[in-house]
């Protein structure tokens, strides 16, 4: 078991302290709330989908550094991505967190630092929550 300090790598800390998409007002077409009952993370993900692409993506809520950094990376990576690809991209991010794929694959390079979570099983749900909430949001009908 790795010591927990290792989870707070510089890349994650940077996203935690300067998150992308946090509390950014957008004209949301889709939104969902998610929570992690064990630790109390709460997150709302808002999405603007138009012309077959993610036009805007934001999140808000009271969540831990891991959840917040993961959400920030999600906002960075999924912006401008075509709808046809986002389910697969999200699945790959969640596979990375779960340790099901390698972190050196090119298409996931921008959030490869999330791979550290796999060594900290109790924190996996923190990192997964934004992605799960995003999927719930886009599966809902338009706002």
């Amino acid at each position: 078991m790795k010591t927990e300090i290792g989870i707070y790598q510089q890349a994650l800390l940077e996203h935690h302290k300067n998150p992308i998409g946090f509390q950014m007002p957008i004209l949301a077409t889709h939104a969902a709330c998610g929570e992690n009952a064990i630790c109390g993370d709460e997150i709302t993900v808002e999405v603007n989908i138009a012309f077959g692409k993610i036009q805007e993506l934001s999140f808000l809520g009271d969540s831990c550094a891991i959840c917040r950094a993961s959400a920030s990376m999600m906002c960075q990576h999924l912006l401008d991505q075509p709808i046809a690809l986002i389910v697969e991209l999200t699945k790959r991010a969640m596979d990375l967190i779960n340790g099901d794929i390698d972190s050196d694959l090119k298409d996931i390079a921008c959030y490869s630092s999330l791979s550290v979570i796999r060594e900290h099983p109790v924190r996996k749900q923190c990192a997964l929550l934004p992605w799960q909430t995003f999927i719930n949001a886009i599966n809902k009908t338009n706002l």
Binding site: T3, E4, I5, I7, Y8, L13, H16, K17, I38, C39, G40, D41, E42, D62, S63, C64, A65, I66, R68, H120, R123, C126
Partner: protein
Amino acid sequence: MASTSIWKDDFPIFSSHAHPKLCYLDSAATCLTPKRVATAMYHYQCYSHANSHKGLYKLSANATELVEKSRSKVADFLNAPTKSELVFTSGTTESINIVANCFVAPKMSAHANIVISSAEHHANILPWQKICKAHGAQLRIAPLTLGGLIDTMALSALLDENTLIVAISHVSNVLGGINPVAEICQLAQKKGIAVLVDGAQAVAHGNFNLTEIGCDFYTFSAHKLYGPTGCGVLYAKGEHLTQMPPYILGGGIINKVSFEETSYINSPLKFEPGSHNVIGIVGLVEAIDYLNDISWFEITHHMSDISAYLHHKLAQLHFIQPLLKHNRDEQLLPWLITFRVEGVHAHDVASLLDSENIAVRVGHHCAQPLHKLYDVNASIRVSLGIYNSYQDIDRLIVALNNAYQLLVIREFE
């Protein structure tokens, strides 16, 4: 000056081959186990184990005698009127469910109401909520004072002729203050209303006198008293035990069974079906003996000393936001404190403390409604045991400073 605890060496978990660097600050969740307790349980299971209350042979009779002597010892510990009013259960959760389902549920109607407080553990909310919903009855919530104790007068105003029970904690597992349970019992019983007191967090304070408290039901778990998990006690007034039907049905609780009908025995054994958890009961009684041997005066003195130090040191950190602010002049500060770190999520604080071998509890501590009342999702709880000392608190303070420095978001600096 409790710079160290003279009892820490009694706990093998701190030995060099186990966790010598462990700083355990989660005793409200479960207390660590003294060697004496573990040894007593080992010896019983290896050399004396048999099915109690069933066999006629010596080994079984000895096990029966052990359980019944243990019942007497627990009665003495609680200053309960008689041992025949004590039921061994699996813990506080089961005890409350027994009372909800066997004492209250049979009397429920749509006009009835049950009174609890805002500071209850889920174990003392859910059983009452369930039976209220099933009958369309009211669950009434007594508020707290600014000091975090149950507001006695406000609770009294909720009681009426349709109140079936008042179910309250003796000590909140989040706020830690000692509620005025004797006063609440007097108020309720003047109106003919039964009172259940959840003593899970109070039991480690010792110095009990159930007769003085005057409640109808009292319950606690052994593992909050340096004993094992899976064993607890329900005290119930004899008249209630007689009236209540059994909860779980099985062997050992009957006078006579036919395929048409069953008559049940009239004793605590009615609520102890199947085989007794004798090893758990042995552990509970050994824990009581261990604490009695130390003396409750010494324990209270030590715990009060380190609690005052904990509250004092945390109050010096500008980023600590306690759920409840205590007056530093209070003579007896709670043996726990629940707080947030400004700008850092509780889960991250716990992870970083864990990296320095410091164990604390984070989350809602099975008290979500109380957290909602204080408008927080998650908090950090530090709770003390007899093995703790100033050294542990000093380590906590350093680690909290480190966590804050690493993770604080600039807007909070």
